[in-house]
Symmetry: C2
């Protein structure tokens, strides 16, 4: 059996898997961030041990524990600061192995680990080269090359939300730059594009007078609202261009699109794919676009796969 | 001993290496492209065998033969068309192993293989995550992730010259798109930027009246020519922006800059690095910039390293 752990800012999602990738149990514990996050890993270890006791699993029945963490984790399992958790720099792997009496542990960045999950049991099943794109509050990415996470030299691989895509953007991105992909393709970005479009003139739209959100925009697109369709085109233009740049670098077989915005469904692809093909190098023109299928479980699946690959 | 082979459109460069990466002999043979390129691999095999006879090497003394090829080669050593050589789709590895009586063979794309060479014995020595950028007639790239070539799903990984960088470019890139990085950062690109700048007004410049070339531009930059410096700034702006996008994807430790334009030397970095830092995600801000050091030998070094990794 394997444990997959997805450590978030409020809750820790946990899953128990068999080696074939079937999840046999899922549960959550709160993320206790007090004392510079020093309780978090002991809490996770305790939860793993309780589950082992509950299921009658001995140490030798557990192949390992994989953990996805919201911060840059290098290839050796060292976290390089997770401000959100109060963490500095230390080896998650070594700390957890100590807490778990030597059960093997592997750790990775949460977005990268979720990408691995989508490759293993989700939308990218059967592919070994994929880019997972999470269109949520921000734009996150996870890149899988030949079946393995692309971590990068300082754990910042796959930070695709911060590709510069628009010159002369007056507003500042959360990262401090201007014109990042995230400013146009995230849920907040779509809302912002809609707000700007509505302010431009008085064209009638279902979006007027209601509370703006990415969901409202895509609902209106599906109803044929002309203003919402303009916004969707602008979104697709920026995202298609950004994904084309990514494809020139890593030449993926498939893009797996997830996160809140992806709940709009395959209508997204109507706006992304043509723009992608317009800008991409011909050698990457045939890349597929699919929706993520694991939702919030991608993290625990990917974490289980991470440790499974490690112990092989 | 190892053989490293760099197959080009006019000549095949060949090198004999010891397992520590020292080149003990270098030579060239012509690339005979007639008969749909069917003579090329037999010619290379004959040259390997002659060299073995000359040096008194038996089959068991040769660890293997690595080959870099101008076209997309997948991870299994299959070439997917090399128009320049008249080649279609076939396994270079299997064909060469047949011609060499079972001596192990590995094949890769020439730009990727050259990047591996620069990592092993060149400007990127000691790094495991690097991006090699070749500023020649075009802009080529080779990406190394954790010491291994990023091939991509169809062998089009590292095609960084075709990242879209400028909107509204009227001229067409060799790939058929408009506004590719290659149109501004290659030797031809720099020349074109200079031509456009000179046509804009009558500002005095040493570049007027002489034959324009990338070398002439960089020579003038070193002399403090104001117009040439404007061109260098534009070049640096586009290239810095392109490399920042690449860094958001693969987070390299170092960029190794080679090719004809790089002969200008470290003055290039004065124009690239600030622009790079302006656009890149902070997690990749500390990437280093170095010049390639192996010149035309990067290909044979990388090819030797390719087979060395394969047989490990």
């Amino acid at each position: 059996m394997l444990f997959g752990v997805d450590l978030g800012g409020t809750t820790v999602k946990m899953g128990l898997f068999d080696a074939d990738g079937n999840v046999t149990d899922k549960w959550e514990i709160p993320t206790r961030k007090e004392n510079a996050g020093s309780l978090i890993l002991p809490d996770i270890a305790d939860s793993v041990k309780s589950k082992m006791a509950e299921k009658g699993l001995k140490k030798e029945d557990v192949l390992g524990v994989g953990i996805g963490v919201p911060g840059p984790v290098d290839a050796s399992g060292v976290i390089h600061k997770a401000a959100n958790l109060g963490w500095g720099v230390f080896s998650i792997r070594e700390t957890m192995e100590g807490l778990l009496d030597g059960i093997p542990v592997a750790a990775g960045n949460d977005a990268n680990v979720a990408a691995l999950g989508e490759m293993w049991q989700g939308g990218g099943r059967g592919c070994r080269n994929l880019v997972a794109v999470t269109l949520g509050t921000g734009v996150g990415g996870g890149i899988i090359v030949e079946g393995q996470i692309l971590t990068g030299s300082t754990g910042a691989g796959g930070e695709i939300g911060h590709i510069h895509i628009v010159d002369d953007e007056p507003e500042t991105c959360g990262c401090g730059n201007h014109g990042c992909l995230e400013q146009y393709a995230s849920a907040t970005g779509v809302t912002r594009l809609a707000k700007r479009r509505l302010e431009k003139d008085d064209a009638p739209s279902a979006l007027r007078g209601s509370s703006l959100s990415a969901k409202a925009v895509w609902d209106a697109v599906k109803e044929g609202d002309a203003v919402a369709i303009e916004v969707a085109k602008e979104f697709g233009h920026y995202l298609g261009k950004g994904l084309a740049a990514i494809a020139c670098v890593v030449n993926p077989e498939v893009f797996v699109i997830g996160g809140g915005v992806s709940k709009a469904g395959e209508v997204l692809f109507d706006y992304i794919c043509d723009e992608y093909k317009k800008y991409v190098f011909h050698g990457s023109r045939e890349a597929k676009f699919v929706l993520a299928t694991l939702g919030n479980d991608a993290g625990i699946f990917g974490a289980a796969k991470l440790i499974l690959d490690e112990i092989k």
